[in-house]
């Protein structure tokens, strides 16, 4: 358990330090291959009480 938590803590430090770069990288990735991430939008809106959202309109 301890090695796993230690690894997670290191990963947390890395991710929080480079969050800007990571966001930009994923933004570009999402622009290039939208189908890869479209499911996250549905999940996110689903959690907020809507089933599907595309281009701001409810389906």
């Amino acid at each position: 358990m301890k090695p796993l938590l230690s690894t997670l803590k290191s990963l947390t430090g890395f991710v929080t330090k480079y969050i800007g770069v990571i966001i930009i990288a994923f933004t570009i990735w999402a622009c290039v291959t939208p189908s890869m991430f479209s499911w996250t939008g549905k999940l996110y809106v689903g959690l907020l009480g809507r089933r599907h959202v595309r281009h701001g309109a409810l389906y």
Partner: protein, 278 residues
């Protein structure tokens, strides 16, 4: 928001009570005046289309983002003050955010105040309060796990942004440049006015840094949520929030790299005062 709640400790509330002047001025007054009014003026001056104007107003009326705490830390600013201001603006968001959107956004579209209050309570207040409660009652047992919560929050933010971008790629390529320009202007004007206000208040250098970052960085995820839930008829309204969430991390990181080079400053981390080595 749940991750933010988990990271809040009793000492953070003590900080709010110990420095009410800075927290109220920076976290509430400056936060809820500079960014909303800048958004409104930009929309009017640039004569933005309704969809984009609503999105910009939403970003301006949101509380300070939790990323501001990390950026303040990197900038060697007053982290405790930053956390205090984020808590104050977030806890007041269920009332102030819908009120400002209703007052400023009502120029363009009809805004349902009560429905928006409920959304902010659902998206912000409940997750934060549940997080605080879990940390309070099970904090010691979950201490090791809580240290990894920023990772979970970061993954969630990245996935939310990627999800929003992926379903809005067409819109980004058609209206993206206009929105990007407005977002950059909004953020930079907000940070400049925040820094000016902090200098007028004659607070210390680390506090100046914290106030500037707090004013400039917004909870743009909330703006995207509200745009999605309440302005479905205005499809471009989600775009400013999505682009802001990327941009404010870039501008914040640049600002932090400039501020952290300041010589002989005091840096506050929690209750510890540390003299900068640089």
């Amino acid at each position: 928001m749940f991750g933010m709640g988990l990271s809040i400790r009793a000492n953070d509330f003590k900080m709010v009570l110990a420095n009410p002047k800075e927290v109220i001025l920076g976290g509430v007054l400056l936060q809820y005046t500079i960014m909303p009014l800048t958004a409104y003026v930009l929309c009017k001056v640039l004569n933005l289309p309704t969809d984009i104007a609503i999105g910009v107003i939403l970003v301006g009326c949101c509380p300070g983002g939790t990323a501001s705490n990390v950026i303040t830390y990197i900038a060697k600013g007053d982290v405790a003050l930053s956390v205090g201001m984020t808590i104050a603006s977030t806890l007041l968001a269920p009332l102030l955010t819908p009120f400002l959107i209703y007052s400023l956004g009502g120029t363009w579209v009809e805004v349902s105040f009560l429905a928006m209050v409920m959304s902010v309570v659902k998206v912000v207040l409940i997750p934060v309060l549940v997080g605080i409660a879990i940390h309070h009652f099970f904090g010691k047992k979950l201490e090791a796990l809580l240290a990894t919560m920023p990772l979970v929050s970061s993954i969630a933010i990245v996935m939310i942004i990627a999800g929003i971008i992926s379903v809005n790629v067409t819109k980004i390529f058609t209206a993206g440049l206009v929105v990007l320009a407005v977002v950059i202007l909004h953020n930079l004007i907000g940070m400049c006015l925040g820094l000016t206000a902090a200098k007028v208040l004659r607070v210390s250098y680390p506090k100046e840094t914290a106030i500037t970052i707090e004013v400039g960085m917004q909870n743009s995820g909330l703006a995207v949520s509200l745009a999605t839930l309440h302005f479905a008829m205005n499809p471009l309204a989600t775009l400013p929030g999505a682009i802001f969430s990327v941009w404010h991390n870039i501008s914040g990181a640049i600002f932090a790299s400039i501020r952290q080079k300041h010589d002989g400053t005091e840096t506050l981390v929690g209750s510890n005062v540390v003299k900068s080595a640089e």
